[in-house]
Every structure is written in C-alpha cells, then in structure tokens.
Amino acid sequence: VTSSLKEASNYIPAAPIFLPEGPWKQIPGGVTAAEGFKAAGIYAGVRAKGEKPDLALVLCDVDAAAAGAFTTNVVAAAPVVYCKKMLDSSKTARAVLINAGQANAATGDAGYQDVVDCANTVAMLLKVRSEEVLIESTGVIGQRIKKDALLNSLPKLVNSLSSSTEGADCAAVAITTTDLVSKSVAVESQVGGTYIRVGGMAKGSGMIHPNMA
C-alpha cells in the first residue's frame, strides 16, 4: 500500500480542502476514516494513456445503510442505471467499485452487461451478494470499459484493500481523470455525545454542472 501511495502521489497532489467552520475536527483518512471501511486504488490498465491508478474499491465490513444521488441526465450511463436499480431493491450495500478511463455511457445493452459482470466478479471475490456491489465510472463518453483488464486486476485490487489513510488516498487518486488534484477529506465530531466520523472522496474537473436526485 505504501509503495502504491508513493506511486499515486507521483501523479497528482492532494487538493486543498475548504471545510466550512463548525464543531468538527478535520482528521486524516478520507473514506477509510470511519470505522468499518477499507479502500484501495491501483493501476489496472483501464486508462487510454499513462499509468496513473485507474481502479478503486471501497468496502464496508458490514451491511451499510446505503444512499445514492444520481445524474438526472436522461442519457444516463450504464453504472448509473445499475446503481439506481440496486438501491431501489436494497437498503444496504457493501462495496463500491470505480473505474476511470471510460464512462460506459451511451454504450447500450452491452455496456450494461459489462457493469453486471464487474459487480458479479467483485461480489464473488469479496464473498458478498452482487446486489450489494455498486459501480461508478468516469472517463470518455461512448466507450465501453476495458473489461478484461479490469476483471483481471480485481484480485490485486481486493488484496490491496486497507483501512489506512494510504488506502483512501490511493483510491482518491485512482478515480481522477483530468483532475489536477485528488479530493479526499474526513471529519470527526460528536453526535449525541458519541464521537462519529464522516469521510469522503470525490473527483471532477470538467463537464461539471451536477443536478442529481
């Protein structure tokens, strides 16, 4: 994981995070700061150019209450259609797989089957139900994901999962496309007298005017 992080940080630095002021404290960790989460990011050969990490996985040790917000663009990518369907039928999820390179949008039935194949393989490797694996994709529109490269890399990705800050940072780099910086943040605060943590990662630089629901 450490060597992966060195590799990842060679590609892009971390973004400055503009947290609003409030009764919370910024802490290291991103998506792995909260109890029960692991993450990984590796180079899987999915990108068209370069060797920046391009495949990320976030795993929860238990069934997690799951919520999603998705583009309201009528031309929605296959992973968007898939995730909406899964969250309509299940209130929980265990994992999120994210690839950078191809958006898998406007790819028709074949693109949707690619998403199903990816979710099934991740579920098999993690020994969870397929419905509990969610998928996000980003990259060039109109291109299907490089599925063979992606599927072949999944065992390494699963073996790289870590609850460390490094795992979160590698994942945050692996989901970037034209981003100049990776985006990752976590906070700790009290809810009803108990310390809780909230963390996250994001990507985005262009084609940005979200209208999610």
Binding site: V58, T71, H209, M212
Partner: protein, 220 residues
C-alpha cells in the same frame, strides 16, 4: 463528470440516511458548476456502517440527526468546493453567497445562476469587477425579487446597494480578483436580494482560454 463516495460510522436508519444525503447533496455537489454541462455519470454513493456505537437515528428532526447532517454537509461541501477549485483551466474558486431570499431553495438558485454565468466567469478571469454581469445573472435566475433591494459585494468592495451602482475603487476590486487568480485563491461574491430568511451558496471557477484548449483536445 463528478463522482463521490461518502462514508460514516454513525448509526442511522436507511430511510433517514437517504433523506440526509439528499439534503447534503443539494447543499453541496448540486451547487457547483464549472462549465454548465451535466454529465451522464454524476453519482454520489453514501454508506453508513453504524459501527461507532452512537445511538441509532430514526428521525431527521432530532438534535442528533441535525448534528450528523451538519457533518455530512461539511464533508460534501469541502469536496464540492475542491471540484470547483480544480475546474478545467481555472485560476481561482468563485464562491457566491446569497441572502435575503424567501427560501433556501430560491437563494441557492440565484447563487448558482451567478456562479454558472459565462460572462461572470470570464470577467473574473479578466480581473474585471463587473457588477452588471453579476446583477444580470441574479436577475435571470428565475426567482422574483425587488431590483431596488439588490446589494452586491465583491470581496470587501461594495459595488451596488439598494439597486444602485456605487462609486468604488476599481483598482482595489481589480487587485482582489488578480490576487485570487495568482494564488489559486477564492473570489467571494456576496449578494443580498431582500429581507427574507433564505440563504444559499454556490461555487464555480473562472473561465480561461485553457478550458477551450483542454476540451478541444479531449475527444468523445
């Protein structure tokens, strides 16, 4: 495209969590803009493990839920602002704050209208304190307000009050924009549209020549 994954160890019912995530997304990711193009892939997935041993939240109205909502808002806003800051070709982040609207939704709509205006974004890149473009973008947001209550501040420079343009030090206001651009800093535009309780924010970035260059070369 913007993607996000948010995690927490707070213990919360699924239905409550979904309502909280919707509110936080509307206050953060849905309030950013770089180029006005809505992606086919925009997605935020939020997972709550419940492993913190906090008491389980089963209502959005209790104090504990409000505390968690505030944390969720903060994390998503932090990430959303980083996306706007990293907008293709951008030299600075633009933060638009609107107060005095009739509701949070109306204020947010005005803020996003200003943040997404190509003319406002180009003026910021040109280091031009162009209050007219800001006023116009607020005016076409689709929210009714009295023009004679419009007030516009650019950083510390008051450019318009009571709907009237004011004399201001153009060099000071221009330098404010220039410094933000040179340091990858933040330009703050404060707008008041009346006496209502609604306030909201939106975030964008300036529009540079590089935006066209990047997207002329990134093929579909």
């Amino acid at each position: 495209t913007m993607l996000g994954v948010v995690t927490t160890d707070a213990s919360v019912d699924s239905d409550v969590w979904r309502k909280m995530v919707k509110v936080a997304v509307n206050r953060s990711f849905n309030q950013i803009t770089v180029d006005g193009d809505t992606s086919t892939n925009d997605t935020v997935i939020a997972l709550a493990s419940g492993l913190s041993r906090s008491s389980r939240l089963s209502s959005v109205d209790c104090n504990e839920a409000k505390q968690l909502q505030a944390c969720l808002d903060a994390v998503m806003q932090g990430l959303a602002k980083s996306i706007a800051w990293d907008g293709e070709g951008a030299t600075c982040l633009i933060e638009v704050r609107v107060t005095g609207a009739n509701s949070e939704a109306e204020a947010a709509k005005i803020a996003r209208s200003v943040a997404s205006s190509s003319l406002v974004k180009a003026a910021v890149y040109g280091r031009d304190p162009n209050w007219g473009r800001i006023a116009a973008a607020a005016g076409y947001a689709g929210v009714s307000f009295y023009q004679n209550k419009l007030r516009i501040l650019l950083g510390d420079s008051l450019l318009m009050d009571g709907g009237q343009p004011l004399p201001f030090d153009r060099a000071v206001a221009g330098n404010y924009l220039r410094k933000a651009g040179e340091t990858r800093g933040t330009v703050i535009i404060d707008i008041s549209v009346g006496d209502g309780p609604g306030s909201g924010q939106a975030w964008g970035c300036d529009l540079s020549y590089d935006y066209v260059k990047i997207n002329a070369e990134y093929t579909t």
